[in-house]
Symmetry: C2
Subunit: 343 residues, 2 copies
Amino acid sequence: MSDNNLCTLGSQSVKLKNEVYINASASIVGKKEGEGPLGLLFDMVGEDDMFGCKTWEEAESSLQKDAVYMALGKAGKKPEDMRYIFAGDLLGQSIATSFGIMNYNIPLLGVYGACSTCGESLSLGAMAISGGFAEDVICVTSSHFASAEKEFRFPLGYGSQRPLSASWTVTGSGAFVLGKQRQDGAVARITGMTIGKIVDFGLKDSLNMGACMAPAAASTIASHFVDYESQPEDYDKIITGDLGSVGQRVLLDLLRDKGYDIADRHMDCGMEIYDAGSQDTHAGGSGCGCSAVTLSAYILKQLSEGNWKKVLFVPTGALLSKTSFNEGQTVPGIAHGVVLEGL
Amino acid sequence: MSDNNLCTLGSQSVKLKNEVYINASASIVGKKEGEGPLGLLFDMVGEDDMFGCKTWEEAESSLQKDAVYMALGKAGKKPEDMRYIFAGDLLGQSIATSFGIMNYNIPLLGVYGACSTCGESLSLGAMAISGGFAEDVICVTSSHFASAEKEFRFPLGYGSQRPLSASWTVTGSGAFVLGKQRQDGAVARITGMTIGKIVDFGLKDSLNMGACMAPAAASTIASHFVDYESQPEDYDKIITGDLGSVGQRVLLDLLRDKGYDIADRHMDCGMEIYDAGSQDTHAGGSGCGCSAVTLSAYILKQLSEGNWKKVLFVPTGALLSKTSFNEGQTVPGIAHGVVLEGL
């Protein structure tokens, strides 16, 4: 391949030569998410957060399994049609993924980017197709309120008080069938991406992850504008994953400092998925599942209906573990941007 | 891109149209690994396993930092020359990676495949270059005996007895600079890969990971032969990551059942890195670092010196977590195959 076949753009972006179709997607959420503002849009809502399983981790695995099943069904595809599955979650060693998707027998490329994993999986999935390594792939990510609280913070039984800056981990999973060929029912195109760097402003508060992640989101979004030689006005929406209301303020301020005002077109999945006032979710929703289910149920719907033409979708992740937290480390952030366009 | 530009092979393999060069690599290990049979080959050996840090996790992070630093130095490259870093480790939320590589400011694509992560990072890194998404990338993985025992099994202070089937997690990190262009000092080429599926034979013994991973290794190796229409004789060596002596026997038996005899050319990194008899390591070495440092120090040396022309390198991973283990789940395996050829 000669050099002019490179599809890199600026310092950290890619503009795909061969656009990739999102041929189908599916979302499954828990009871609380089903009661939120987007409740009616999800493909499936659980009656309780155990989903018929014995443990929270198994329940989260069942979310991935169901999301993949529904997305494949909508695309009219079988597991064996998928060349790879790009999958991940928040739990140690990504066990929600391992036990959720193993029976599909799809070659697995496991990814980890904390709550930015949905953006990473879509980026790598689109590269795999656009680069000629696959015709069809599936991407899936998940989170679960109870498995995440156990993994990162306090046992739920303690009934710990949550500060107003805390977010509520979304119980949910979103799956996306990407293809080289546009199928009937395709909902959008992936046309490019901006791969994020780790950004660490030195914050150490695991109950204010919005502030920890906002600098990474600002970095990725600003780099995207520079690489693409674009402006906020070129996008109908600029959508972060789970900054919540505290992180949003930080993001808007940081981007203003860099000369970009995105206030009139910024949306945060974490602020859309719950009614913070009535649902007691404080700063907003978070987790690998938050951006994934909001993308599937709401964002792709707006794109497929033509209400939006082009959005920059930027899932945001906090690189936190209970071990690093207990050892006094900071909570660095990372965010990956994906350019989504209507058909 | 037209359909004939697809470089997929069979059901789970890729044959790269544009081969990718391993332009440099570096390895760093702990004291015990330095005392083993490969000790003189590693680029750096620590005087103790803390590497000047306060915690085991920080020590593991410093391994990744040093491996990347040395590999970039050998390649004559700066961090900003790297388009992406494909990185991962065994710890929850991949914290060895986050805190190890963040100061390089390279766009990060975090990967998780347990001890197969080295194979996954090389596969995705090579696809990114071959597909036109980068000119140069770096791949790094690590493990640390003490951080891994804490993450997966018993506190070291308990002095738990280890059965003979147990493996010893390698303290070490290996980094690989991949490039589209062959540089002076390049050591090998990546010409293809076979992406593995999760294989679960129902084993639940976290102290016999070789047996847990061997079925996945057998699956990937057999699929590779089918996809490539090749035979064991087409490779100078077929090299697994960390099956150890117990897993090796299982692998050879399973492959014989499938009609392949690889006994005369099989090598396992975990069996090479320690002298099991004198070093009390039982079944052998394991961990993300095991295959990575053995690849960098030993396998690539054989390829660059022309002693071997072509090998199939198959890092093996056990998809275990302490949570899933304590909840009674099995230990499924995964293995990714990478075809490495001399220059």
